[in-house]
Subunit: 186 residues, 2 copies
């Protein structure tokens, strides 16, 4: 079976998408492609910022010297229901907590700016074979707390919005966005 | 004098920024940096999509084989007053009209999607030493008209919102956004 069943109550074997060779980035790309083709949202991964130092021209020009010296902010950007979305995906192998060292300070500053200007920002966290949307507001709060170095898995289950594993798209994470930000509107 | 005066009625010598070695992209980057630092908006140029084929690792990893084989949509994205912005900058040396061949079909499709989902999309057109914001809705209309191959400069002056050349930022194009999309709100 290529894809797990679209069931609400997950069993571990059904959410172990990693065994099928799909990482979180591929799953998000698949979902974004589905949203685009079905006119649900326009969301895409920002290209990796590469400073182009030297190009070899020809029928197919190519970069032969490019450096990774620019800071990226969050990986995904888009529009959904008229709202600006800006988010990132983070995976941890740690099963009991999400280490905040996974987040860079400039990413927190970016999240603060997005919230200030009325956008939606969050992290998609892949932990313990489950996937959660955690609001930027919560991430910022814990990041700025000097007492917390990681967010316990149990707390993520409490404050986060679990993303169900289904079929086409495998992770239909817009359901979690609806629950987190558009509750009562739909 | 490094910068022209911030005057409403421009004389040609005052808007000839090209002589100062600033192209439209640099001017937009300068403006975006100003908006970021002054908490006005978060707008940035999307990185050029480069497919990374080979990286040379070391203290400073670099791309030694990268190809430009992905379609880009529009160059700039951001958030302003809670709204999603997605736009491009186009320069033409043609003084009497803006050839629609400057726009790719997939860019029109992208603009249509942004409008459909409630975002703001436009082109910033640099023509005849003047700069205008032209709404995506108008661009799409003329692009899809089989009769029109270019938008006359006179029509751009009529349907577009002129961007004044000033000081810090040199092109304060958010004024034109306000006029085009937020009139009466400010």
């Amino acid at each position: 079976m290529l894809y797990p069943n679209n069931i609400k109550k997950h069993k571990k074997e059904n959410i172990n998408y990693a065994n099928r060779g799909m990482d979180l980035e591929n799953l998000l790309n698949e979902a974004n492609n589905y949203y685009l083709l079905n006119d649900i949202a326009v969301i895409y991964k920002k290209p990796t910022p590469i400073k182009i130092n030297k190009v070899k021209y020809g029928n197919f020009p190519k970069v032969i010297d490019g450096s990774f010296n620019q800071k990226s902010t969050l990986d995904y950007v888009g529009i959904y229901k008229g709202k600006y979305l800006d988010f990132d995906a983070k995976s941890t192998k740690n099963k009991t907590s999400f280490p905040l060292s996974n987040i860079h300070n400039h990413q927190i500053i970016h999240m603060e700016r997005i919230i200030k200007h009325g956008g939606i920002t969050f992290l998609i966290i892949d932990i313990n074979q489950e996937i959660f949307l955690v609001k930027g507001e919560d991430i910022i709060k814990y990041y700025n707390s000097s007492k917390i170095k990681s967010i316990p898995y149990k707390l993520i289950k409490e404050i986060g919005y679990q993303i169900r594993i289904g079929y086409n798209p495998i992770i239909n994470y817009i359901e979690a966005i609806n629950e987190a930000y558009f509750k009562g509107e739909i």
